[in-house]
Each structure stands twice: as structure tokens, then as C-alpha cells.
Symmetry: D2
């Protein structure tokens, strides 16, 4: 998505020797329109970000250090794309205060960088009011402790909210006899089914149906590197979004 | 599946003006290797089956009349393929007694003529012992009263039996927290999930998984005519199976 | 999607005794928020639309009569939702001219009322720039004359356009040896594959992939009644969209 | 699949420090009914297999050394399960000659240990004569050089052979206009379609259809460890199959 002739964006990575950070480094190096100029981890000097001319920093570090990292970036006019967890309201308020003094700088805080998962949730919610029936099926490896998955619950909540807003009728269901659990879990009126199958990673399907037709939106996450394309979208977009943004969704607005 | 040059099988249909019987008539006429020679319904003379030289009769009539029909066919040396319901042990015993006196004649009693459904169940049971995890998902229109479907329960029972016979370990499942119903219904240790979606007809998926791979067997029934190919298999095979056969499965042995 | 207490919309159907029109009548009668007040066909008096107080007319008639129908509706202040074909630029210009004199009246001309198909195309195009790879698979009954289907070609063109606009790189494909046709047809750089399978109706799947994840959007059309929910969306929305609208898409804006 | 109280099978691994061999070691250790007693690689003493009391050896080594390994095993009465490649007719003849002198010993030579792939091919071929239409879709990562995949070609050949044996009619296809390649590659009358999608590993779907119904058999290979369950089936079964066996299929006979 680079314009030919444009110089690649200079990117620094914080947490570069962690599992996730290392994947980010590889992805930044592999893309045509980004260039890895600094790979910094605990013990390294963050000033390297400035010396190397990094325009954007990607932070996958730790809740204990991420705020210091971000203050440094903001003060030095470097945009930040952040996958580190632990952001509550007070931390977001603090970031907004810092950014108020650095008008051109953008910070993205994203709990989920999987573009596929984000689009699945968005499309499911957008489509839900146009169909009589919507159910969610999630499929994961059998070592998972919770059922349904957090993503499936969130998807069902978004579907339920979209239908409430549209004034949709309750879904039809004539089930009168059967076995307990056969119709799945009920999340705000949306049925959610969880399969646990050896060999699978993380998968989800939303099935929507109306008279004579169905629409199915399925996301398959097959490898942990699935977050890297989302990180690159963040890196490419953050410069055009000064201030604080929460959620990668905002950068996928494709109207 | 006819041999070139062979004369088509002469077929009579009992219950020919019923919804199902009419579809059977159409299918017999459409196939290259079968010929419709008699279409008989209530009020018609069954002797027409003999006059027309029917070699095989297909019966989709009513429990009240089917036994009389079959006695007539057996006495006249006509094979029968029967989709009419209501056969209990005493009726099957009666048929076997009649067939003992008509050594060349075959009668097939089949509760389900959908080849796709039969193969799905068979393949699922055959594969089940080779995978750590197996679950069943059935999807139907929302006017269905029972959940899970009878086919899904039967499939789960066949899977459970195959795993017991093979000494398979219980399936792995680390679920410790979650919502009620999220993991579906438990049919002899096999999880079964039922979706009710407007626009669907009758669909079922069996998902099997082992380290690094999954096998999925899916059956979609999209139209009521899905039973006709199975009826034709019965018509083509019954002559080679004298005596009583219960279940179309026996004719799908393809070892 | 009706507000409780609101009176149902009064709907007239033109072409009410045709196959499609009859389905529309049934759907209008079945919905809670619409009421069938006039069912008019060739030979009937269109003035019935006015006498019955129809607020919206649905027209599934014939290119020869549809313009007269629409002039009548517009002159009498009745909104129109039109599935009749044959609208070229000059006909659309004529409609706009008539509508200029009837400022509150809306007319929707839609070549495709399947909400599932419309959303599949839209979501596929929206998602396409965020994935390295996108391909289209369409599956139809074997009596279809063209391959790929018109919908599949249109989907591929929309995907190609979205990727051009975003400056996406060409898709990766290391294929160097193989059989002719194995990689499908090339529609503006998007691969399209067509299956012809007995038992199927009309189905399409768009598969999008990036590092470690895939997103699949599938539409299954199982019965001809699949257009009725889209017609109802048109009926419910047309009053809020005075003037001429082409394509149901415009009423699915759910941003 | 062990009988409670039975001692676990003692297993030696040849090529134990290779990528594949190391996975085999892990799988043998993890299973309840097998015990890893010897892990041997180049430079180690194969006599360790005898000293450790190995009942079965798994060989993932190299064509240059595998024949010596097998002679050693056969001479010492140890069964062998072999994934090493390079077995031509003359090598198989040699093995049979050696085995003639060791009547209780079994050797399995298998080109493919993925149970899912083997069952997919078998089920597809078994089902093919019962459906009017059968097509194959394979989906792989875009770095693959050949299209269609070898497995897809082999599957199509098996389907074509099964239909020839059954005297099946050619598949219906009314396609008269369209784009080149839209209907895929033709492998002995069976259409094969290949998708290349970033994020995928190796996947295949066989779609079979008859009037009103379809049957879909899908295999997803998501990780290279997918061969280990097949190796364990070989280890558990080889003792009951003295002599030479080619192909894991023979041990999956579940009639």
C-alpha cells in the first residue's frame, strides 16, 4: 500500500527480543513500505529511537514500562502503535493529557491486532439486523479453559446491540423438546456454540439467515503471526491520526 | 450405472400419486437404466404390477396397506423397495416368513433413503477412533421442534459406539469456566450442537481433530428430492439381495 | 423493525399474480409492519392502488409496462420499489425528470434484492485491501450456462477496484508448473473458480488471507424467496429516500 | 487405544534428532500405550535398539541408510514403521525377501502418515459413484510451486477410477460460455480447483452432489505434527501385520 517512490516509514520496535516483538521486527523488515531502524529491549537505551530517526514506534513490552516508553515517544514527536496490555481509564486520560501538548503525534492502543477478527465482528454486527436468525460458532483447541471464547461473547454482544438499535424482532426458534445444552449458550438472545477440537487453533463462524438465503462470515486464526498485518496497518495509518485512538477498528474505516 | 446394451429395469410405483411417490415416478422415468411400467395408487388395481411386467416395486404408501402390498409382490416374484414407515419386529418377522417361501425375491425396508446422510454417518463412525476429538453440529430451519435432530443424536451414538469398540480415550476438554450450554449437549460423551437458522433446510457437520489436522464431513440436504437417488440404488441392487434387508446401508457396501 | 404502536405501511403489488409478485404478496402479508392493500396484475385497474391508500408499490411486472406504472405512482405520490428489469440511462433520466416534480416521492430501482449477495460483495470489497490474497469460489447447479457466474465476476471486479484504490500489491502466487485451468479464471487479477454440482442452487465464497489468518465470506442462496427480505427493506426505507435510488445497497448503509 | 493393564509398547526411533524424528519421540512419550526406549541418530550405535528391548522401530532417516536399518531390525525381530522415502520396486522386493526369513516381523512403508488425508481420499472414492457430480478444491499457501497439488490429483484419479469401475455416467455440465480456467483443471474427467491464499497451510475439500443433497469431505492440515497420530497407528498395528505392508491405509480398515 505504499506509493511508488515514497520513502519507507522508519520504524522502531520496543520489546524487540520478545516473542511478539521479534515477529513485529520480521514483518517490518519484510514489508516494502516500512524500514526497521531500531530494535530496543529491556536494558537498551531508548534514545536509540531518536538517534535512528524512527517515525513510528511499535510497543509490545510490559504494563510496568509502557507508560514511560510512551511519554518518551510523545515528547520526541514519535508516533506509537501499542499492543501492550493494561490500559485502564486513568492511563488513557494520562496519555490524552500528554498528547494535548504534542498536537501532531498519534498513539494507537489496540487490544486486538487481528484484522480478520476485527472485520468478522464488524461485518457480523452490520449484517445482523438484516437477517431473522444469527448464531455464533467458535472452534478452539481443547486446552482452552473458557467456553464460549471471549471473542465469541463480544461478537454476540455486538450483534445483540445492533439488533436492539434496529428494533429487530427476537429470533425464531420453535425448539420445544431436546437435550440440555443442544441450543448453545444464550448471550443477550444470541446463541453461541463452542467446539473443542484437537488440531484447531482459533476459529469463529457467524451464521446469518433469512428466507431462502444465508450469509456466513468465518475467521480462521492459524498462526500467532496473524497480528502482524494489523500492526502494519497501525504503523501506516497512525501518522494521519494525531491524538489518542483506542482499537484498530478506527483505522479500518473503509466506508 | 447400467451396462450398455442391457434392458432397463421395469419398475412399478405404489403410492404413485402421493408427493413422494410422484417424485419417485419422475426419477424412475429420468434414469437411463430404469423404466416406469406401472404407477398405482389407492383405488387402482395392483394386478397392474403383474400385467406390466414390473420387476421391482417401490412402495411409498401407508402403514395400513403396505403389508398387503408386500404379500402381493412377494407372491408374484416382484422385488420391493419400501420407504413406508411403521415396521416393527413382528412385521419384519412376517416378511421373513413370506420371503422364506419365495427364495429369489428381495425386499428392502429403509427408514432413510438419503445416500448423503447415510454415508456421512458411516464415514463419521469409521473415522472417529482415529481422532482425539469428534463433535457434531447440526443446522436446521427454526420451525424444527427437537434439538438436537434425530440424525445428529444417531450420528453421535454411532461415533460413541465406534470409539468404545476401539477403546478410544475420552475426548480432551479443559473447559473450566463458561456459560451454560456453550459446549452443547452430551450424547454418550459426544458433544452435539444445534443451530436454528431461517433459510436453512437440514444440514449436519461432523468435525474430527487430531494433532495438527482436522477432517470435516458435511451433509447438506437442500431439497426433498434428495431421497430419489437412494431409491434408485435400492431399485438397482435389490435383485442381487434376495431375502429381507433393513437399511439402505447394506447396498452401499463399497469396501 | 417496526416501532410498536406504529401503523403498518400500506403496500400495493403490481404483477401480483406472477411467480415473483405472488411471493412478494405473501411476504408483505406475513410481516408485522406491512399490510397488503392492493394486488394488481395485467387487466386490473391501477387506480385500485390509489383507492386502497397504498403508500408504497412494489413492481415486478415487465419492461413494456413498468414506465407507465411508475409515472402513475409518482403522479399520485406513491413510493415505488422496482425489481422489473430493462432500465437503461434514458429510462433513469426520465424517472428523474418525473421525480423532480414530485419532491417527496422515492423510487428504488434494484437489479438484485438478495441482501446476502449484496452484503457479501460489499464486505469482500471492503476487506480486500487488508489481505495479501483474495480469491472467489462460486458453486452452482450444473445446468448453468456461464462460468464464472455474473455475481462472481462482479465480486471480483469490485475486489480488484478496491485493491487498486488502496494501492495493494499484486497477490502472491509461486505457481510454476501444473495443469491448465487449475488456478481458475483471471478477472482483473482476481482468481475465480466455478464448481458445477448437482443438488446445489447458487452459492459463493470469498476467501481472504494474510499472514496466519483467513477471513471467509460465504453466501448461500437456497430458495428463490431469498429476494423477499430485500424487497421489505426497500418498502420500509423508500419513504426516507425521496428521488431516484439505484441499487438496494444504498439502503443497507449501516456505517 | 490401550487395554488397561497392558504394558506399553516399547518403541525405538531412528533419526531421532531430525525435525520429524524429534516430533515422533515426543508423540511416543506422550501416548499412554507407547514408551520411548531408544532414540538413535547418525553416529549412535543401532545395537541400542536391541539392548533397550524395542519391539517396534520408527524410521525417519535417509534413503542411503534406511535399508541397512531395516535389515538390522528384521534380523533382530523388531517391527518397523518407516516414513523414509525412496522405496522403489527393487527395494520392496529386497524387504520381502528378508521378511520371508523372519515370519513374525512386520514392516510398514508409508508415503503419507496423515490419517485425515488418507481417510479423505478413501471416503471420496467410496462415495463418488453414488453422486452425479464430484469436484475437488485444494487450498494452499501461495509459495507452492505446483497447481493442483499432488494430493488433489491423486484424489481426482481415485474418484475417476471408482466411477469407471461403477460404470458412472459422465458428470453433468452445461457450461457453454465463460472465461478460460473458470471450471478448473480436468483430471480424468474430474474438475480440480486450486486456491493460493496467504495464511493457509494445506487444505482440501471434495464436494459431491446428487438431486437435492451434497456431501462435503474436507481435510485441513494446520501443522506439520499431523503425521504423528498416523505413526502411532502404525506402531500399534504393525505387530498384527507380519510381512510387508505398503501404505498406512491397510491399517485403517475399519469395514
Amino acid at each position: 500500500m505504499s506509493t511508488p517512490g515514497e520513502a519507507p516509514r522508519k520504524v522502531g520496535v520496543l520489546g524487540a527480543r520478545g516473542k511478539v516483538g521479534a515477529e513485529v521486527c520480521r514483518a517490518v523488515e519484510a514489508a516494502d513500505d516500512t524500514e526497521l531502524v531500531a530494535a530496543v529491549d529491556a536494558g537498551d537505551d531508548v534514545a536509540e529511537l531518536v538517534r535512528s530517526g524512527a517515525e513510528v514506534v511499535v510497543d509490545f513490552t510490559h504494563p510496568d514500562v509502557v507508560m514511560d516508553n510512551l511519554r518518551f515517544c510523545i515528547e520526541h514527536g514519535i508516533h506509537a502503535v501499542v499492543g501492550t496490555t493494561g490500559f485502564d481509564r486513568s492511563r488513557l486520560d494520562q496519555l490524552e493529557a500528554w498528547l494535548a501538548d504534542a498536537p501532531g503525534v498519534g498513539v494507537l492502543i489496540a487490544p486486538n491486532f487481528s484484522i480478520g477478527a476485527i472485520l468478522m465482528m464488524r461485518f457480523a454486527a452490520q449484517a445482523a439486523p438484516f437477517f431473522e436468525s444469527v448464531e455464533v460458532v467458535e472452534l478452539h483447541h481443547p486446552d482452552k479453559a473458557d467456553a464460549p471464547s471471549g471473542t465469541a461473547r463480544r461478537t454476540a454482544e455486538l450483534i445483540a446491540a445492533a439488533r436492539r438499535d434496529a428494533g429487530s424482532a427476537p429470533m425464531p426458534d420453535a425448539t420445544s423438546t431436546g437435550l440440555e445444552g443442544a441450543r448453545g449458550a444464550d448471550v443477550e438472545g444470541v446463541r453461541v456454540h463452542g467446539l473443542r477440537i484437537r488440531g484447531l487453533v482459533a476459529h469463529q463462524e457467524v451464521v446469518l439467515g433469512a428466507a431462502g438465503e444465508t450469509l456466513t462470515i468465518r475467521h480462521d486464526s492459524l498462526d500467532r503471526v496473524s497480528f502482524t498485518p494489523g500492526v502494519l496497518v497501525g504503523v501506516r495509518s497512525i501518522g494521519d491520526h494525531p491524538g489518542l485512538t483506542v482499537g484498530l477498528d478506527a483505522f479500518l474505516d473503509i466506508g
